[in-house]
Structures are given as C-alpha cells and as structure tokens.
C-alpha cells in the first residue's frame, strides 16, 4: 500500500506577526525548533513515504521557498494553487494529480504548520487510517482532547468500526467554554486536527457527489496532467472554483466517513501562547529563544529574540517577540489578539512590517 502525503502549505495567517509576514507565513517560521514548521512536517514523514511520493500544495508566491526549503522533494510534487480557494479545491487538485499516477494510492492530507511531539505514534495512526482508507472510507484523524479548548472544531464519535476506529457521527463547530467542557468529559468527542486520509478514487467520487462543479472541472483538466499546458489550463480553471473547505464541502456531507483517534502530542501551534507549551521551558515556565535573550525573575513568559539583545525582567505570562525590524509585547492570554495588532497597523498605515 502506497501512501502519498499531501502537505497543505497554502496558509497565510497573521497570528504570528511580527515573525510572520504576508510573504513569509507561519509554515515557513522556525517556531518550535530551529527549522521551519514545514521542514519539520516533512521530516516527520520519514518511514511513511519517500520524498518522491510526497506532495506540497502552496500558493504561487511561496512555491520557490517551498522548493528551496525541501530540496529532496521532486519539483513536480509542488502543486501550485493559482489562487487561494480554501482546502477543497486544493485537495481536489492533489486527488486528481495523484489519482492519475496511482488511482488506488492513499493520500494523507496534512497541515504544514502543526507540531507533533511523538512522530512515531503519529505515523502509526496514519498507517491505521490508511488501512481504513484502502477499504473506501474517507478517514479523518481525531485528536484526543487534553483541555476544553474553544478554538478547535470537534468530531463526535459514532459506532465503533474495529481496530480503534469509529464512524463519524458529526463534525461540530468551535464550541463555547461550557459546551467544550461537556464534550471533553463525555469522551465522545475528538479535536478536528485537519488531517484526512483517503484513496484518490474515493475522494474523486466524493467530489463528484458533493462538489460536482469541482469534480467536473478536474475531470476536464485530467488529460493534461503531467503534460505541457497543464499549468496554464489550471490557471484558467482554478479561479472559477468555489472557495470552500474540505470539511464543509465534502466531509460533513459524505456517509463513508471514519475517524481514527490519535494521541501523539499534537499542537496546532495556533498562537505565541502555544509556543510556550511546545518549546523547552526553564524552571519558571519561561520559553527564551535567542543567544542574546535574557529572561530574569519572570514566569510563564514567551520571549523570542532575533540576533539583538533582548531582556525581560520581572514579567509574568507575557509574550515578547523581536523580529529584527519590529517588536511586539502582549499578555500571553491575549495571543489570539495579534490579528488586532495587524489590523491596527493597517489602519494607521504602519504597513512596513506586514
């Protein structure tokens, strides 16, 4: 059974300003280790699939960076979305491109900007999901919740399918705190981590049923895959596709959906606060990055330095980020509000570092 990881690197978030920029979004930042999250994501696949079977989907402005960061990835395995159209069209592109090569190959769609503390456990879960996928299921990986998180969607478990897998009863939206606590204590819900495993054939059929416009467009493109003129044809087709997520456009509507629970130290690295959880901490729970960074008499701080001297003294639960040309100071519990910072900079026309 061949597995084709499809790493989704089309994101363009602003939650890591001043580190992230329009041309340099989160997946290209070394947020958890000294390597960019995208590079760590590919390294994690070692043993699951060789580089020749691995694909990365990204936007046109990031393709060169993807190729530079991943020199072992064949250049044709970088699938460039001509314009951003959310995840469903991007995954359709992968399903038809890989389907042309191996219709029964199992695709494992994976975010490029998450963290996994236990890569071996992660690969084992994907192997199990791949087995289910071979049987025609559209499989999602559900993350065992560790807290009543309100920032994620949840997956409600249905009937057991054997080998630890379940039917999916429902995908549910981000809950309020009370509902999130109920979900976690019920043990009937998992986090939706945005990982999907399926054969090219099964996903093509699912698109034909639930997003027929997308399927028809891809069928028309299919004869040109791997041939001259494909890129130009894709550039004409893609902008006309609906902008819709795979969750909403396919997974929530399809019947043959299964979930495999996973517990491998997952984090979506959703904000600077999350970096405080996945990076090594000192005795007082501070994360300090940078050779010229000094955190004194502080607790629970996330301090990310550039090459410059950066000193934090006497602070609690504060995020301090120096990106070289811009500095941000924000309470750790307000890490999500970095978006507001970017908005405010736009309004004030201080766009030099966006």
């Amino acid at each position: 059974m061949k597995i084709y990881p499809v790493v989704m690197a089309g994101g363009s978030g602003t939650r890591f300003w001043p580190l992230s920029r329009v041309r340099h979004p989160k997946q290209f930042l070394p947020l958890v280790s000294s390597k960019p999250l995208l590079v760590e994501t590919l390294a994690r696949l070692k043993g699951l699939a060789p580089p020749g079977h691995t694909y990365v989907v990204c936007g046109p402005s990031h393709a060169a960076m993807v190729r530079r960061l991943l020199p072992r990835l064949p250049s044709r395995n970088v699938l460039v979305e001509p314009v951003a159209r959310n995840t469903a069209p991007a995954i359709a592109l992968a399903a038809w491109v890989i389907g042309a090569r191996d219709p029964d190959g199992v695709l494992a769609v994976l975010p490029s900007d998450h963290h996994v503390a236990d890569p071996r456990g992660f690969r084992a879960v994907l192997q199990r999901a791949a087995k289910l996928a071979r049987a025609g299921q559209l499989v999602t990986v559900g993350i065992q919740p560790t807290r009543a998180e309100t920032g994620y969607g949840y997956i409600r478990l249905g009937a057991p399918l054997g080998e630890g897998a379940f039917r999916v009863q429902a995908f549910v939206e981000k809950p309020d705190p009370v509902t999130a606590a109920e979900y976690v204590s019920s043990k009937e819900y998992l986090w939706n981590g945005g990982m999907f495993v399926f054969t090219a054939r099964a996903m093509q059929e699912a698109f034909a049923r639930h997003l027929p416009d997308v399927a028809e467009a891809m069928e028309r493109l299919a004869p040109r895959i791997g041939k001259r003129g494909f890129t130009a044809a894709l550039a004409r087709t893609f902008p006309r596709l609906p902008s819709v997520s795979l969750d909403y456009g396919v997974m929530e509507k399809a019947r043959n959906i299964a979930v495999v629970p996973g517990d491998f130290g997952w984090s979506d690295v959703g904000s600077f606060a999350a970096i405080g959880e996945v990076r090594p901490q000192d005795a007082n729970g501070n994360v300090a990055v940078g050779e010229q960074t000094l955190v004194l008499d502080s607790a629970g701080c996330v301090v990310l330095g550039s090459g410059r001297t950066l000193v934090v003294l006497g602070m609690r639960d504060t995020v301090v980020v120096d990106a070289g040309d811009a500095v941000l100071v924000i309470p750790r519990e307000r890490s999500q509000d970095v978006r507001q910072v970017v908005e405010a900079l736009r309004l004030k026309r201080l766009t030099r570092t966006l």
Copy 2:
C-alpha cells in the same frame, strides 16, 4: 551680580539601559523631549546667564560630545575632570577656575540630567539663592516634596532667614517609607535636588576648612589656570584628590548653609517610570514615543521606540524600550532594577550593548 551656572555632566549611570551606554550616559539622551537632557538644561538658563558665563564639567570621554551638543558654549568653559572623583573635586575645580576670573561671582551648580517643568520659576529661585550667596552663604535649593519618596536625600529646615529662605538644620539620608511619610507631613523637610549656589570665594574658604587637601591642591594649580600646562598639571593632581561628594565633604559640615525652597515641577528623571510622569500621556496614562510605536488597549505604560515598529497591546504599567540594537521589557514599578539587568548582562558576558 554675575551668575555662573556650572552644569555637572560627569554622570555615568546605568538606569536607562538600553538607551544609556557607558559612552552615552543619561545626560546625553533625549529622555523628556526630542533634545538631550543636557541641552534642555542649558536652554533653561537663558536669561539667567549668557553662554560665556556658563560652564559644564564632564569626563574626558564626553568632552567632545558636550562641545558638539552645545556649540554656543565657549570651548574653554568645558571643564574636564581627568578622572571621576565624585562632586566635591569637580566643584572645587569650577570654584577655582571661575574664582580666578571673578572671585565674587556666584556659581550655580546644577545637575545636567534633571527636568524642570517651570523654567521661569526655576530661574526665579536661583536668583533668590544667588542673593543669599552674595551675602556669603552656601545655598542649596530644596525641592518641595510631592510624595513620600524614598529615593532622595532630604534637607531639614532650620530657622527662617527672611525672603522665604531658611537655615539648614541637617542633610538627612534617603529615608525608609514610614520616615519619608513623616518628613513630608511635617512640612519641615525638602528634597535635596543637588543644586548649590555660592560665591567662588565662599566655596574656596569652605574647602579650605572642610577639605583642606583639595583646597591646597587647587591653590597650587591656581597660578596655571588659563595658561599652557594647566591641563597636564590637573591630570597629575586630580587622581590624588579624595573621591567625595560636596554634600558629605562640605555642605554637611559647614555652618553658613542656607536653603531656598523651590517648587518648579522638578524631576530627577531617575528611571523609566519617571519618564511616564514628565512626558505627555494619552488618556490611559501611557507614554508612547516613536513614529512607528503603537500602544493599544494598555494603561500606564512607558513605551519608547527607536525607528522600528513597536507594538504593545493589552499591557499595564509596563516599560518597553527599544534602543535599536537592544530591547528591554520590565514592570514600571521595577524601573530601578535596570541596574540588575546591566549586572546580569555583564555576568553572562552579553556586553555588546553596554
């Protein structure tokens, strides 16, 4: 009556790191306005004395900067201490140099790195002090306390001398908080702001009585003042003088000491917290300096930017300073602990920005 301001610019504090450096101490920083404190100090003297009567005392490594910042000051009015020996020898140097020019001239010794909100009131107080000085008194200016400050020395008032002046009953050390509160409520104490007014002749006599070694050394140098060889002779003499403050060496011992109370919006600009008091604040009590500085949803913060983008969101009573090559984040109430930061950087051998 001629007044000769003597501005003491020999300080080398570390309380404003990362803005202040060994080669660029506080008096050269634009902490309160866009001009260095030293330049503001000289500007404040307009109407009191012309540049030709104004002197600045500083160390050898700062003389060039003093001359560059104060182009209207005659070069010979920059009195260079060959080595730092605290204030008494520096003031003796001024008393003998100015005494050679005008023995009955009134010197007004002033710190170079303080702030005065009401320069007109400040000059009026110095004029009053100068009148007393002409009568042979060694006069200090006492600042009307506005809070139970533990960071300053206090002056205990003695018998009234008329025209709002008093004998000095005692100079007292920095008090603990309880004592400071007693001092302030008693109305018998003023802050010692380090300003002294006296004739050259009276101070020379006071040195002869209380610091005779210093007086004798200056007497031996006196014949060379204004002549070739003075600098070299001073360089041989100065290192042998005792390192002692004027307060301790002369003022606390002399009998003919008077104090003139002053209330002219004085601040010693002793720390980053003080900048929050003397700079214009927004509606939430934040001070934000820098065209690329943005303070959002915060209160009581002091945010000093360089040319780079600097954003503070959701913080309270925090000092954030970006000096271009170094950044400091510290609670406002711990502003005094910047010294600890400099010590820690030395210990860690991160001395690039000291």
